[in-house]
């Protein structure tokens, strides 16, 4: 298919909006041709996952655009960087890396992006409407904006998300198009006990299974409670996008494009139906831990994706009046921390020993104690990336188990939750 551009889009290549936008448009056109798009689509917002320092090439790219006068053309939020800019001492990085990571984050702010530095912009007021065209990066944010909000994005990543933000355009293909959003696989969770489905600890395990077994296909999950929360869907999507390339799933009766199963499949007969069994869930649960049960716990980390206010309020109830014996990290957006300070919860959490990390998280930059050991978490995403990114062994459990273990300094779990 030949890519057709509008007069305005061609003028961007010619430099009508400056050198940086011209460069962004050239890259966007190359990318659109690579995926075979016939045209570009106007977007309403962008979420840039290009702030994390992988090396100095990423800094050079961002500064080339910023120095060339680049300005974002749509509302743009920023994903995490490699530094906690509000608490710089919490990240252990050398002087060069610290300086370059800072320059990379600053360059995107200079282009007019909002310094949100969070993987969950949807928790701090950035909520695209159903059907809205957007260009979002970062795998959990992509899954959430497509699935839970019903806005439309493809899987954007480093560089292309920024080019979309500067030009206000994205290649019209994939999940931007209605016809590519139909569920092709039905996942039947109706036999899972309702007590288990009511618990937060269920959702990362379901997501881990979904990513491994459904991958790039689009699932319609039936049999989940109508009261399934946004935090639970967030955890499901983040885990699914860690173990597989899941960018969109539907939950019938819950998510916006799935009022009914028929709506989720666009009236077509699904390619296959899979009934969830206890064995499938136990397999995924086992995969989320590399450390043995009952042993020591050296640190606890929560907040991947970044913790919401609701999750913090739950944590406050669990830690109030208790003292955590091992380092306990809760990662969140600076905007969420501000709200916690205002309502007095930040103080309660710090008194108990919770370290609140903002702008970044513990699996993308060195924050955990260098001594290593066993990291306990309630996050499917931390459990997936923890061993390769931090060197820690991981232990997966509920938020309640994480707090109890942090108080005791050894792993406490509730296996009876999984009895089925």
């Amino acid at each position: 298919m030949t890519l057709e551009l509008t007069d305005y889009e061609r003028s961007l290549i010619g430099g009508s909006q400056g050198d940086a936008t011209a460069m962004a448009m050239r890259i966007l056109v190359s990318a659109a041709e690579l995926v075979g798009a016939g045209e570009l689509v106007e977007i309403r917002s962008a979420h840039i996952d290009g702030c994390l320092h992988h090396g100095d090439g990423g800094v050079e790219f961002a500064e080339r655009l910023a120095d060339g006068g680049g300005r974002v053309a749509v509302d743009t939020t920023l994903n995490v960087g490699a530094l906690d800019l509000l608490h710089p001492d919490k990240v252990r990085a050398g002087a060069h890396k610290t300086a370059m990571a800072r320059r990379q984050m600053d360059a995107y702010v200079r282009m007019g992006a909002e310094p949100t530095f969070t993987c969950a912009p949807y928790q701090i007021g950035h909520l695209p409407d159903v059907g809205e065209q957007v260009a979002w990066g970062e795998s959990n944010a992509i899954a959430f904006v497509n699935s839970v909000l019903g806005a439309r994005t493809e899987r954007y990543g480093d560089f292309l998300d920024a080019c979309c933000a500067l030009t206000g355009r994205a290649p019209l293909h994939g999940l931007h198009l209605e016809e590519n959003r139909a569920a092709t696989v039905v996942v039947d969770a109706s036999h899972v006990p309702s007590e288990l489905k009511a618990r937060d600890v269920f959702y990362p395990v379901l997501g881990t299974w979904l990513g491994l077994e459904v991958g790039r296909d689009i699932a319609a999950i039936v049999g989940l409670p109508a009261a399934t929360t946004r935090d639970q869907l967030k955890a499901l999507g983040a885990a699914a996008a860690s173990t597989g390339a899941v960018a969109l799933f539907h939950v019938v009766g819950v998510t916006p494009e799935a009022a009914t199963l028929d709506a989720a499949t666009h009236g077509q007969v699904p390619g296959r139906t899979v009934a969830l069994t206890a064995e499938m869930l136990r397999g995924s649960l086992a995969r989320l831990s590399t450390a043995g049960q009952g042993g020591r716990v050296d640190a606890v980390a929560v907040g991947s994706p970044h913790f919401s206010i609701g999750e913090f309020e739950h944590l406050v109830r669990l830690v109030s009046g208790r003292r955590l014996a091992v380092p306990f990290y809760a990662c969140t957006a600076r905007g969420t921390l501000l709200a916690l300070e205002e309502q007095g919860d930040a103080e309660v959490l710090r008194e108990a020993g919770v370290e609140i990390i903002v702008d970044t998280c513990v699996v993308v930059t060195p924050i955990l104690p260098a001594s290593g050991g066993v990291l306990m978490t309630n996050s499917g995403k931390f459990a997936h990336y923890g061993p390769s990114n931090t060197g820690y062994e991981v232990l997966y459990g509920s938020l309640e188990d994480c707090v109890d273990s942090a108080v005791a300094g050894r792993a406490l779990s509730s296996p009876e939750v999984w009895a089925w």
């Binding site: 190359s30 992988h54 090396g55 090439g57 050079e60 790219f61 990543g157 480093d158 390769s388």
Partner: protein, 139 residues
């Protein structure tokens, strides 16, 4: 000698020894951007350097941050001389396109049935032309 044609994803010319991987690879978390060696201990070719090779892989998988790793490899001079992919991948290609915008030397990326490369022995010097033709290089 044998000749195989691929679909050009990123045009360019490259020359180097064939490194054929049987497993897919994720550049992010799978390749060290400074040394150009395969850094995933679970990969069958763990520790092998991809720098300067004509790298043939069934597919690139994993995070979209792989384009950032591709850019760093070009910047460090530790990138492959060419990449032959069994399945087209926009993410690695994007890393090269961005690198060329920044003035780094680019590399060709082709999509081709990598099974057709079995007639070439591992390590043989290959040449990739800007038109997407892979031939054994005269040494």
């Amino acid at each position: 000698m044998g000749l195989v044609a691929g679909r050009v994803l990123v045009a360019g010319e490259g020359r180097g020894p064939l490194l054929r991987l049987d497993e897919p690879i994720s550049f992010w978390g799978g390749v060290d951007p400074v040394s150009g060696t395969i850094a995933d201990p679970r990969h069958a070719n763990f520790g092998t350097s991809i720098a300067g090779t004509v790298l043939a892989v069934p597919s690139a998988v994993g995070s979209s941050s792989s384009s950032a790793i591709m850019l760093e490899l070009l910047r460090e001079g530790t990138a492959p001389a060419a990449i032959l992919l069994g399945h087209a991948d926009a993410i690695l290609s994007l890393g090269v396109i961005v690198g060329e915008e920044l003035g780094y030397a680019g590399i060709p990326i082709l999509e081709m049935p990598v099974g057709e490369l079995v007639s070439f022995p591992q390590g043989v010097q290959l040449h990739v032309s800007p038109e997407g033709i892979v031939t054994q290089a005269s040494s």
